[in-house]
């Protein structure tokens, strides 16, 4: 596949934007102003950037519990996203959701969910809806290696296959579910192999290479739009940090961590190198893009900090369309 230079630039920009957003979250977290817990997307940016660059605005994504990156890459308003993480009134969920439910419906995010593997059935329904309403929209569902051990994985892959739904299953295999390595919970060497039983074509890609992810997604989205049914793409990647807020991730062997967390494997470096090599951007462009994005992210951080908390009584709002 020859890739348009504009696309390469976009892949670089989205990967970096997602990274800078997450670094900002990490900083705010360091300031101790992020309530509750966090599942950082740091390290996995190549996946969200590669996947979402292959989508059009009206396509949908279903996120997971590690969703900041998905939402930002899909084009979320960063002010509202950061404000949500701080529990502010101006957050996209008015402070009702936080990290695990960070969602911006109007840019095509169906939802982020705190229940592992619960997004898969919802993605089936959204894809069915796209099919029944005769739109050419596609649904992409992100979930982890750990989620592929849940019952909904089998139910939902099966249903997507029998109904030939316009759906792309994205497994973000970061090799761990909290502290449990996937090799202890999955008998096959890849998660992708599991798709075979449902007659779903699958592929394994380097999730830290946004271009590889993009190319696989383009093909899958094309199949989905043309009525060819679902595809599963396993994106192999690695968390830069622990599973959640206070996890130092000591259970990961040093050698393995060194390999994945090397500068060479880093998602931003990987796509920057490709984009420069293929003449899509120069070093200088890369710096400029970084400066511009950093400013945006910093502004979003200020916005979030300055925003007010909701009034306590707002607890009672939005349970039903109309209160009774």
């Amino acid at each position: 596949m020859t890739v348009d230079k504009k696309i390469l630039k976009e892949l670089f920009t989205r990967t970096l934007k997602t990274r800078l957003f997450e670094e900002k979250v990490w900083d705010l977290f360091g300031e101790n102003i992020v309530p509750g817990t966090l599942h950082l997307y740091l390290g996995q940016e190549g996946v969200a950037a590669g996947v979402t660059t292959a989508l059009k605005d009206s396509d949908w994504i279903q996120s997971s519990h590690r969703g900041h990156g998905h939402v930002v890459a899909k084009g979320a308003d960063m002010n509202a996203a950061l404000a949500e993480l701080l529990g502010k009134k101006t957050g996209s969920c008015k402070g009702k959701g936080g990290s695990m439910h960070i969602t911006q419906f109007d840019v095509g995010v169906l939802g982020a969910t705190g229940v592992v593997a619960s997004g898969l059935p919802i993605a089936v329904g959204a894809a069915l809806s796209c099919q029944m309403r005769k739109t050419d929209d596609v649904v992409v569902c992100f979930f982890g290696d750990g989620a592929s051990n849940n019952g909904t994985f089998g139910e939902s892959l099966n249903m997507s296959a029998i109904w030939k739904l316009p759906l792309v299953w994205i497994v973000e295999n970061n090799f761990y579910a909290m502290g449990t390595p996937i090799k202890l919970t999955c008998p096959s060497s890849t998660v992708a192999q599991r798709a075979e039983g449902y007659c779903i074509p699958s592929q394994v890609v380097d999730g830290n290479n946004a271009l590889e992810v993009y190319e696989a997604t383009v093909e899958a989205v094309k199949r989905a739009r043309e009525g060819g049914g679902p595809t599963l793409i396993e994106c192999q990647t690695y968390r830069m940090k622990g599973h959640s807020r206070f996890d130092p991730a000591k259970y990961r062997p040093q050698e393995e961590a060194d390999h994945w967390l090397s500068g060479e494997k880093d998602a931003v470096n990987v796509i920057q190198k490709i984009a420069i090599e293929q003449g899509a951007i120069t070093e200088k462009d890369a710096e400029k893009i970084r400066e511009k994005l950093q400013k945006e992210v910093d502004k979003a951080g200020e916005f979030a900090k300055k925003s007010d908390f909701p009034e306590p009584e707002e607890t009672l709002d939005d349970v039903y369309a109309e209160a009774f």
Partner: protein, 324 residues
């Protein structure tokens, strides 16, 4: 007016909504061409509307419910069926964590206009996995509406309201009321949620109950009339929203209350109703509130056991006599 059984009235309501709104579609196990639903509620609809809109699914309760969620938030009006109420346990995440909470945790960004039909109740000797009455679980889940139609003339108007409602509705039916006959209006009618119906007026004692117990209560009321006891019978029709006003007014008139449902006693809807009445009408009570429920056991199989388990006319009558 046409006399028809509950099952037919329910189907007629669904059919009218499918004719009115092409976004309405049905999904569930064996609801289509070959079977027409385990209780034949949807029989004939697949022939009329096609297998796309009356969609047989694999045995995948969690994904049936989840697919309804995904379709609902993206512009469809799904009516999903869980074949037996007991099996809703397999879909609890999608019903109680996803459908019920989405509007709230996403700060009002999403509406989940789905209907989940299922059937509760014993009396058919089909034992512990096919006979429970679990409506209190859903009454206890903020974000869900809960309809409990017990009569043919109500079920049609209630299903139509449920399908048009912007929030998720757990639409509970009961195995023994499907064959109950009543005059049902021919013209289109909708029954608003949150409006109880006084099924029989009386002066001495109020009976509040659900499903088949209401039919029994009406027989008991007739019997007691001969002894000079005048019984008022109230059908809430929906548990969420709950019509407290009609109930409280009745209690203020009669001063006595008997609560009758087929649920096991601990944590049943009757417990909630008793609490509400003592909070809001304590001074009007002339006797302790009586509860008639099943014992706290699973539903047994053998006829003498099941007959012991399910409250009968004698127990209801005795409860009334105990307090007048």
């Amino acid at each position: 007016m046409t006399e028809m059984v509950y099952r037919e009235a329910l189907k007629a309501g669904i059919r009218e909504e499918m004719l009115r709104d092409e976004r309405v579609f049905l999904l569930g196990e064996d609801i289509g061409l070959n079977w027409g639903g385990a209780f034949k509620v949807t029989k004939g609809l697949a022939e009329e509307f096609g297998v796309e809109r009356v969609r047989d699914t694999p045995i995948s309760e969690n994904t049936i419910a989840g697919a309804a969620v995904g379709a609902a938030i993206t512009g469809m009006r799904p009516v999903a069926e869980i074949m037996f109420g007991d099996l809703i346990t397999l879909a609890m995440d999608q019903v109680c964590n996803q459908a019920a909470k989405m509007r709230y945790m996403f700060g009002g960004q999403t509406s989940v206009p789905l209907v989940l039909r299922t059937v509760f109740g014993g009396g058919k000797n089909i034992a512990s996995h096919h006979s429970q009455s679990l409506e209190s679980w859903f009454m206890h889940t903020p974000g869900l509406k809960v309809a409990v139609p017990a009569f043919a003339s109500d079920v049609k108007g209630l299903i139509k309201t449920a399908i048009r409602d912007p929030d998720p509705v757990l639409f509970a039916e009961h195995k023994l009321v499907y064959d109950k006959k009543e005059e049902v209006p021919d013209d289109e009618y909708l029954i608003p949620f949150g409006e109880a119906k006084v099924r029989r007026e009386g002066a001495d004692v109020t009976i509040w109950g659900t499903f088949i117990m209401l039919h029994k209560a009406l027989e008991v009321a007739e019997e007691l009339q001969k002894e000079g006891i005048s019984v008022e019978v109230i059908d809430p029709r929906t548990l969420v929203p709950l019509d407290k006003k009609t109930l409280i007014e009745s209690v203020k008139k009669t001063g006595r209350l008997v609560l009758v449902t087929e649920e096991t006693k601990t944590g049943a809807t009757t417990a909630e109703i008793a609490a509400i009445v003592q909070e809001e009408a304590f001074d009007w009570l002339d006797a302790p509130i009586k509860r008639v429920n099943a014992p706290d056991t699973p539903v047994p199989f053998s006829p003498p056991l099941e007959n012991y388990f399910i409250p009968d006319n004698k127990r209801i009558a005795q409860a009334v006599r105990d307090i007048v």
